[in-house]
């Protein structure tokens, strides 16, 4: 508690952990390249340097606020200092901005522009390093790395993976996996958080847009889209629409205009997942089989379990992810000559996630020898595709998605946010479907953006212990306790990314606290707007189970093994 003077104005501070936060609270957007409130303070970029009343300069991210402090954020000295830092960074940086995938979203580019750097005085002496495109999820281009360490800290502190680290020192320093291995040879789970944190184009999404454009241009191909819940609450932001508001209708319209033959909704796949996963849960409960049941919707989490906790592989739900079920069912539907019309089917899935690009290549993502999902397009790529097409997205009229797989329940939409899978499963398990029952579920502890949520519900006389986790580092904490017998859960829901898919590795980057909250609200409000809340009451699902899916549920909806 206290007051400090920032650029001649008195500013109150309370529990801010550093001067930087106080400055930002005062409405001054002080530049940073290595500061993120969610990971530890690194103090490497020095761009947040300020000057105090005695002429001393210091990095505001690494200084605690003190009562009576007098600081200047824009004195001639700090401005000159900051400009020099950016200039030096640019000196050792690839400057092919026009052809860089990050152009327009790059923090370094933005800062160089903001500081009016039109010329770099220093010679670029950096050697060229090989680009690592071994991973289906991300591409690492060391030539664009500024050594801020954001990816290293995100991978280690938030995700508990630590696939990346600094290597060597001084002018030889680089960020790389151990022994400069290819990403695909490391324990990387493909979550893409490094790419979300990377301020430049050093880590970017492995894109598949060209393959999709090619499929759309092929008259012999039926191109089908499925759109995940978290995508619809993130696209509008890029077009100046209300943050977090679902724009599913506009997305359907724009995809139709781009030439997609059918646009389905992944919430339908989510409903299928709820049906299968709750049946599996009940089966375990009745047969006294091994608990906890671990959710299997998140591919980064599934890989995490397989790599780091192989002894718990059997606890993973055998259910395919909503994406997997959706694609398997759709492909099977169009295998019927009655529906196929002589065309080949290409399934494109629009996801907030880079790890989904890995999931579709797993052996258990194939049915009848055929890959179920052909391409995964992240939200960021979808926005690029819309921009590429020139369609005025903001002005589009909403359209409804297509039959027979274009409708999901409110419960299915909830999959986009942490706790959503559990909430949808509870809706399925609890027989009542009145408003009070739904509200009771919503208030049982499943909602909210805390990283680890634990609660107990009563189901038919049994106490069912549930744990909902987001962020893999948190998942590790929970799994260690489970492994050591310190915690007993019946169900553990894990989403690899903090707050769930709404903050996935394929979402548009640089989302602040307001955007994060707005996306979660957007998911809940999309649920509120759904007429059908319970997955089992989805009429399209019911007719599918009674007809087409008979005898095929195991083949299309479950994984043999991990």
């Amino acid at each position: 508690m206290g007051f400090m003077t920032i650029d001649g104005r008195k500013v109150e501070f309370t529990d801010e952990k550093n001067v930087l936060s106080v400055i930002r609270k005062a409405g001054i957007n002080i530049p940073t390249l290595c500061y993120h409130s969610e990971v530890s303070t690194f103090g490497a970029c020095r761009l947040c340097t300020v000057e105090d009343d005695r002429g001393r300069t210091f990095a505001s991210c690494s200084e605690e606020p003190r009562d009576g402090m007098v600081i200047y954020t824009n004195s001639g000295k700090v401005k000159k200092y900051r400009k020099l830092i950016v200039e030096l960074l640019l000196a050792a940086h690839c400057r092919d901005c026009t052809t860089c995938v990050k152009s327009g979203e790059c923090n370094l580019q933005l800062l160089a522009h903001r500081m009016g750097i039109l010329d770099v005085r220093f010679e670029n002496t950096r050697e060229h390093h090989e680009i690592d495109d071994s991973s289906p999820a991300i591409i690492r281009d060391p030539n664009k790395c500024i050594l801020c360490g954001d990816c290293v800290r995100a991978c280690e502190e938030l995700q508990g993976i630590g696939a990346l680290g600094f290597a060597f020192r001084g002018t030889d320093a680089m960020v790389m996996p151990a022994f400069n291995k290819k990403i695909v040879e490391t324990n990387c789970v493909g979550c893409g958080q490094c790419r979300v944190f990377c301020p430049t184009g050093a880590i970017s999404i492995r894109t598949n847009m060209e393959e999709v454009w090619d499929a759309l241009a092929d008259p012999d191909v039926r191109v089908i889209a499925q759109v995940a819940p978290a995508v619809r609450v993130a696209v509008g932001d890029a077009y100046g629409l209300t943050k977090g508001r679902s724009v599913m209708g506009k997305i359907v319209n724009v995809l139709h205009r781009m030439g997609f033959d059918e646009v389905y909704d992944t919430t339908f796949g989510a409903d299928l997942t709820v049906m299968e996963e709750s049946a599996e849960f009940l089966n375990r409960l009745q047969s006294g089989r091994k608990f906890p049941l671990l959710t299997s919707c998140c591919p980064a989490w599934v890989k995490f379990v397989c790599d780091q906790y192989p002894e718990f592989k059997q606890n993973l739900s055998t259910c395919r992810s909503p994406q997997g079920m959706m694609s398997a069912v759709t492909k099977e539907w169009y295998r019927d000559p009655k529906h196929s019309d002589g065309k080949r089917t290409v399934m494109v899935s629009f996801m907030p996630c880079t790890a989904k690009k890995m999931e579709i290549r797993r052996p258990n993502s194939f049915t009848k020898g055929e890959q179920d999902t052909d391409f995964v397009i992240t939200t960021t790529e979808l926005i690029r595709m819309i921009n590429n097409s020139g369609i005025d997205f903001a002005a589009l009229e909403p359209e409804s998605s297509d039959v027979p797989f274009g409708f999901g329940s409110g419960g299915g939409v909830l999959f986009g946010v942490t706790g959503g899978v559990t909430e949808a499963v509870l809706r399925r398990l609890i027989p009542e479907h009145n408003k009070a029952a739904l509200e009771a579920i919503a208030e049982c502890g499943v909602r909210g953006d805390e990283p680890i949520k634990e609660f107990t519900i009563n189901y038919e006389g049994n106490d069912v212990n549930i744990c909902v986790v987001s962020g893999l580092a948190n998942a590790r904490r929970v799994m260690e306790r489970v492994k050591n017998g310190e915690a007993n859960y019946h169900l553990i829901e894990v989403m690899a990314c903090r707050r769930g898919c709404i903050m996935g590795g394929g979402q548009p980057p640089r989302a602040g606290d307001r955007t994060k909250a707005a996306r979660a609200r957007g998911i809940y409000s999309a649920d509120n707007m759904s007429i059908i809340k319970k997955p089992d009451e989805n009429p399209m699902l019911q007719s599918l189970y009674e007809g087409f899916l008979k005898g095929k549920t195991h083949e299309l909806l479950h994984n043999e093994s991990y």
Binding site: E156, I161, G162, A163, G165, A167, R169, P177, A178, T186
Partner: protein
């Protein structure tokens, strides 16, 4: 693939320092002492055993010049190129050694695995400049001729 004995040795070394992340550097030092280099497979193994990520262990190992992932020769010659030694002409000493052994900046170990030649920034013996070390022994006031003679003696098996 490393022989199983390497892992057993690593286990002993880990046990002597304690299975904790702060033991990383002393463990790496002991392994290097044992094998005259730090086998990459052992670094990965140690990291897993003491609970640090492989990338972090690699980060530490590459930060310090002292650790080497390549097998070093029986005699490690460290020619000092600190300021004092440099002005007292340590570079001609280095050049003479490299020439005699057929080594260069990029090739530091002889193929018979007898000699490794490195430069160091200061041995802390500036009064004796130019200095060099062979394994643990310091050789003061070197000249190119003295260095060549020393190498001949070492080759003859007289020990450092």
């Amino acid at each position: 693939m490393l022989d199983q004995s390497y892992y057993q040795k690593a286990d002993e070394i880990i046990a002597s320092h304690g299975r904790k992340s702060s033991s990383l550097i002393p463990i790496m030092q002991d392994i290097q002492e044992e094998y005259r280099y730090l086998p990459g497979e052992l670094l990965t193994y140690v990291a897993g055993q003491i609970g640090v990520t492989e990338a972090k262990a690699y980060s530490v190992a590459t930060f310090y010049e002292n650790f080497s992932f390549e097998a070093k020769g029986k005699y490690v010659i460290k020619v000092c190129d600190g300021t004092a030694c440099h002005v007292r002409k340590s570079m001609p000493v280095l050049d003479a050694i490299n020439k005699k052994l057929g080594l260069s900046k990029n090739r530091k170990t002889t193929s018979d695995m007898l000699f490794t030649v490195e430069t160091v920034s200061c041995l802390g013996a500036c009064g004796l400049a130019p200095t060099m070390m062979v394994n643990d022994e310091v050789y003061p006031r070197m000249t190119p001729e003295a260095a060549e003679a020393l190498i001949d003696r070492l080759k003859g098996g007289e020990g450092a």
